[in-house]
Symmetry: C2
């Protein structure tokens, strides 16, 4: 199913909103791992880890492959590029807004200085 950009961002930001899931991504960045290894590493039940991996897989951030009885997890096809682009665009808007505020403060300061000088004169 092809999701819209907004739906993809909803799913991936939601997947990232959990420390264990972020930890799993960092771990898989260092090498592939089975669900059992991940459960051990994060001191979690197998069922709990399966749920987390399921959420990450749904978001395309992790891919899994079952060989025999072992399910191996690796980094998925999505590389957070859309998420980075969204955050970056937003930060630029943000920075522009704060620059504007800085300018207003600068104008106010100049006026203040001018009025202060006039008062002293």
């Amino acid at each position: 199913m092809v999701q819209s950009l907004n739906a993809r961002l909803d799913t991936s930001f939601s997947a990232l909103a959990d420390a264990t899931r972020r930890g799993v991504l960092a771990q898989l960045g260092r090498g592939d791992a089975s669900i059992t290894e991940l459960a051990d590493k994060f001191q979690m039940t197998l069922t709990g880890m399966k749920k987390h991996v399921g959420v990450l897989e749904q978001a395309g951030l992790v891919a899994t492959e079952k060989i025999g009885r072992v399910r191996t997890c690796k980094l998925g096809p999505r590389r957070l590029e859309e998420e980075t682009a969204w955050i970056e665009a937003h930060r630029q808007l943000w920075a522009a807004r704060f620059d504007e505020l800085d300018k207003v403060v600068e104008v106010l300061k100049t006026k203040e200085k001018f009025h202060g000088r006039k008062k002293r004169e």
Copy 2:
């Protein structure tokens, strides 16, 4: 209350996991707005918009101020720097993993070529 980095990332990624809330942040990047204006803009009830703004405020992404009967919303103190840093670090790990895979593929291709040549000889 001072939250840990992990708790802050949980809260902010969760706040970002909704198209309306991302839209509100983009809108406030263009200028401050009242809850009523935001509700109109996103064709939502006042109660619905209040909830979304509450989530964004909790995450420090929006700040609000009530003057008389009007609550004005503006961008909050947190500028997604920690979120960008996390994603960036993760993407670097990711890129390194894919580079490794590329190298493995390169080695396999070279071997393939070598064996191919040996067979022909």
